[in-house]
Homo-oligomer: 463 residues x 2
C-alpha cells in the first residue's frame, strides 16, 4: 500500500490560511444541535483541509467539557470535583486535553501535574497505595522531629505522640471501643507523610481496612498534628461502600471533637473508585458524607457516550447555497451562510436560538420575530426577545480588517461555561426527560431551505 508523496507534507506545511475567516461561538458557551459551532469561509481547497483538524479539536473537547458539566450538575455546587483521569486517557496528550476541558466544565482541580503547570489548573491528589505498602514499620522513620506550625517549639518524637493518640482513641468511650490493632505499615506511611507535609495531610485510608485501620491511624496522626497547630486535610476512600464508609468515618470524626478539637467533624472526605454520574446520583439518594469526588475513567473516556458526532458541512460555494440531503431528516444540513442568535426572555433565560440568512436584518430586543422549526412546517412561534445575543464571533479574520474577538483565559472560559449553565431554564437540563431547547430558523431561511430541497431532490432521486 503506497504512502502519499513527500511533497504533500511540504504542501501541508505551507498551506496559507490568510484568506480564511473563522467565526465561532465563544468557547465555554452552551450550544444546541443544528446551530453551527463554527463558520469557516475561504478557498475551498484550504477550507476542506481544515475540516478534519477542526472536527478533531472540537469533538472531544466539547464532549468531555459536557461530561464534566454533567458530573458537576449531579454532584451539586458545594462538592469539590477532582479530575483523576490521567491513567485512563488516550496517552499523555489525550489526558492533557481531558484535564483542561474538565476544568472548563466545572471541575475544581486535576491530579495531572503537567496540566496544572501548563494551564494553571489547581492540583490535587493523594499518595498512592504503593506509598502505604512501601513501609513496613514505624522503625523505618529516621527523623521523628516536627516543628510546630507557629515555629515556637519542636516535638522531638512525633511518632510517640501519634502512638499516644492512637492508644487514647482505641480506648475512648465515645468511639465505643471499636478500634483494635491497626496496621503498622499504614501508620508508618501516614506518619512519614505528615512529617513531610504537616499542613497538607491527606491520607488514603483503604489499603488495609478503612474502619479498623485507616480511620484510627488517620485520626491519631491528625490529632498529633493538631497538638502542633496543624490542621489535617482529610481522607480519601478508594474502595468499598462509599456511602456507608463516609457516614461511619464522619461519625468517628465528630466523636473525636470531644478531645477538644472543634471542627474535626468537618474533616474533608474524598471518595474515588470508578465514580460516574450514575454512582454519584445513587450516593446522593442513599445519603453520604463525601465532600469531594475524584473521578477518572468514566470522566475522560466519556463512558456514557464515547464520541460526539460533530460534522463539517459545505453550506455555500461561490454564493450558491448547498444542501446535504438524507433519508434521515436529522442529517439534512441547513444550507447558506448564516448568522445565529440566542433570544432571551423576561426572566433572563434563553428562549430559543435562531439562524437567519446573512442578508437578513438581525433580530432586535423588543421586536417580534417568527421562529420556525427548520423542517416541520407546523412548529413555529412568535418571540419578543428581551435580549439578543449574536452567537458566531470572528476569531480569525484572515486578511480582512474585521475585528478579532478576544480569546479569554481558561478561568474566564470556565466562568462563562458555569454562568451559561446557570442561566438555562432548569427543565432544559434536568437529568430525566429534559425539555428540548428550541432551535429555529427565520421565515425566510425556512422558505429557502424547502425550495432548495425540492430542487435538489427530484422525485425518485432520494434513496
Amino acid at each position: 500500500m503506497p504512502m502519499c508523496e513527500g511533497e504533500f507534507f511540504d504542501y501541508l506545511r505551507e498551506v496559507d490560511c490568510s484568506d480564511v475567516e473563522v467565526y465561532s461561538i465563544p468557547e465555554g458557551s452552551v450550544v444546541f444541535p443544528k446551530v453551527p459551532l463554527m463558520r469557516v469561509e475561504g478557498p475551498v481547497a484550504v477550507v476542506q483541509l481544515l475540516e478534519t483538524p477542526f472536527v478533531n479539536l472540537i469533538n472531544y473537547a466539547s464532549l468531555v467539557t459536557t461530561n464534566a458539566a454533567r458530573h458537576r450538575h449531579v454532584a451539586g455546587k458545594s462538592k469539590v470535583l477532582l479530575e483523576f483521569g490521567l491513567r485512563r486517557a488516550q496517552g499523555p496528550d489525550g489526558a492533557i486535553s481531558a484535564s483542561k476541558y474538565c476544568f472548563m466544565g466545572g471541575f475544581d482541580a486535576t491530579s495531572n501535574v503537567l496540566a496544572g503547570n501548563l494551564f494553571g489548573i489547581p492540583l490535587r491528589g493523594t499518595h498512592s497505595h504503593a506509598f502505604v505498602s512501601s513501609y513496613m514499620s514505624l522503625d523505618e522513620i529516621p527523623n521523628k522531629a516536627l516543628r510546630s506550625k507557629d515555629g515556637s517549639r519542636v516535638c522531638q518524637d512525633f511518632v510517640s505522640l501519634v502512638q499516644e493518640w492512637l492508644q487514647k482513641i482505641q480506648v475512648a468511650d465515645s468511639l465505643g471501643g471499636v478500634f483494635g490493632d491497626t496496621n503498622q505499615s499504614e501508620l508508618a506511611a501516614f506518619v512519614s507523610y505528615a512529617l513531610a507535609f504537616p499542613s497538607n495531610f491527606l491520607a488514603l485510608v483503604d489499603t488495609y481496612d478503612v474502619m479498623r485501620s485507616g480511620i484510627p491511624n488517620f485520626c491519631a496522626v491528625a490529632l498529633a498534628l493538631h497538638d502542633l497547630g496543624y490542621k489535617a486535610s482529610g481522607i480519601r476512600l478508594d474502595s468499598g461502600d462509599l456511602a456507608y464508609l463516609s457516614i461511619e468515618a464522619r461519625k468517628v470524626f465528630r466523636a473525636v471533637e470531644e478531645f477538644n478539637v472543634p471542627g474535626f467533624g468537618r474533616m474533608v472526605i474524598t471518595a474515588s473508585n470508578d465514580l460516574n454520574e450514575e454512582t454519584i446520583d445513587a450516593l446522593n439518594k442513599q445519603g453520604h458524607e463525601v465532600d469531594a469526588f475524584g473521578i477518572g475513567t468514566y470522566l475522560v473516556t466519556c463512558y456514557s457516550q464515547a464520541a460526539l458526532g460533530c460534522v463539517f458541512k459545505l453550506v455555500e460555494i461561490n454564493s450558491k447555497p448547498r444542501i446535504k440531503l438524507s433519508e434521515d431528516v436529522a442529517k439534512v444540513s441547513i444550507p447558506c451562510k448564516k448568522r445565529c442568535f440566542r433570544l432571551y426572555g423576561k426572566e433572563g433565560f434563553p428562549l430559543v436560538d435562531i439562524m437567519i440568512r446573512e442578508s437578513e436584518p438581525s433580530p432586535k430586543a423588543g421586536e417580534r420575530i417568527l421562529c420556525r422549526h427548520p423542517f416541520i412546517e407546523s412548529k413555529r412561534a412568535y418571540v419578543v426577545p428581551q435580549h439578543v445575543e449574536e452567537l458566531l464571533q470572528c476569531y480569525w479574520p484572515g486578511r480582512s480588517d474585521k475585528p478579532r474577538a478576544e480569546l479569554p483565559s481558561l478561568d474566564k472560559i470556565r466562568s462563562r461555561c458555569m454562568q451559561q449553565l446557570e442561566k438555562l431554564r432548569p427543565d432544559h437540563i434536568r437529568r430525566l426527560n429534559p425539555t428540548p431547547y428550541k432551535v429555529s430558523v427565520s421565515a425566510k431561511l425556512y422558505d429557502f431551505i424547502h425550495c432548495l430541497w425540492l430542487n435538489e431532490a427530484p422525485v425518485g432521486e432520494l434513496q
Copy 2:
C-alpha cells in the same frame, strides 16, 4: 485551592532515572491478566513518580491495539482495514496514539496524514461529501484534457468521454436499464478527482443516491479512465445497508466487464459508517461484497470497553516482599520480584504462563515443571514445555551493565503482534466463550504467597 510550589516542577524536570531498571514484555506481545507487563526497580521515590506515566502510556496503547486486533480477527485476514478515527479521538495526539497502535494491532492504513508522516504508516482515505457538494455542474471543470497512462496520447475532452460512457451504461441491456439521470454535481466531482488522480480514483458514492447516481457516475468515470490505460481504485459506501449496497454494486461491476473490461468486477468496495466488531460480524453473517472497512469512532474510543485497568503494584521493597490484599481475590497482587515465562507445547501453541521467584531456576524445555494457579489450591498441572520463552526483557538497564533489549521498528512490532495472535490456540481467541488461557506460579512462589498472605492478614483485619 493552592497550586503546588514551582520548585516541584523543577524537581520533576531533574528526576534522575539512572538508578532505575525497567523490564518489559516486548511490545506487540500477547499478554494475559496477572503477568506483569513491566517490572520497575529502583529508588522508591523515583519509581513511584514513574507509576502514573507508565500506567498512562500502557493503558490506552494496549487497549486500542487489542481493539484493533479484535477487529482484524472478526474481519478476517483478507480484508483491508483502515483506521478513520482522527475526528473522534481525544484531541490531535490521542488520535496519533490511536493510529500508531491500531496499525500495530493489525490495521493496514490510516487516514491520519500526520501519523503516516511520523510512523511511516500507509495512508488511505477518500474525498469527503463536502468535496462532492462543492461542485455544481460539469461546466465548472476548466481543464478537461487527460494524458493516457503510458503517455502516448492525450484525451482533449475527458468530460465528453465520461458522458459517452454514462450514456452507454444507462442503456446497457446487461445492466437492465436501471440507471436514469445521475446527479451532475456528483459527476463533476468524480471527473475532477479522476483528472487530478487518474491512478488513484476512489469515489465516495453515497452523497446523493448510491445505486441511482453514485455507482453509474463512478462506472462512467472508471470506464473513461480505462480507455486511457488507468485502473480505478474503487468506491466507498458511507451510509445505508452496506450488505445490500455492496452486493448490488458488485453485480453492476461484474456486468460492466462485458464492455471488454476484464477485472472490473473485482473493483474494491470500501465500507464505513459507525462500523465495529458487531456490525462486521453481522455483515459477515448476512453476506456482503465489502473488501475494505474504514473504522473510526468505535475503534479509537474502544467503545466496547472504554478503559483498560492496568495498575502498578509494589511487590518488593529492600528485598522484602509486599502483597496488596483485597476482599476481591482478583485484586490481590502477586508479591516478590518475579521472572515470567511462556511455556509452549508440541504443536507450537503457548500452553501456560508461569511466574517464578527471581532466585528460582528457569523452566527448561523438556523438563517437567509444576504450574499452580496463584490462589486456588486444587488447580495445578505438570507441564513439559517444548520451548520456553522468558517474557520480561531489560529495556532500561540504568547504570547497570545489563544488555539492553532491542527496540524494534513499528513494522516489526506489528508483525510480532500478528504472529503471536496466530500462534494462539484458536479456542483462546474465539469470540464466544473463549477458553481462559492459564497463568500460573511455581510451587515455591505459591507457597510463599500464601504464607505471606496469612502473615499480613491476621484474623479480623480484612474488611
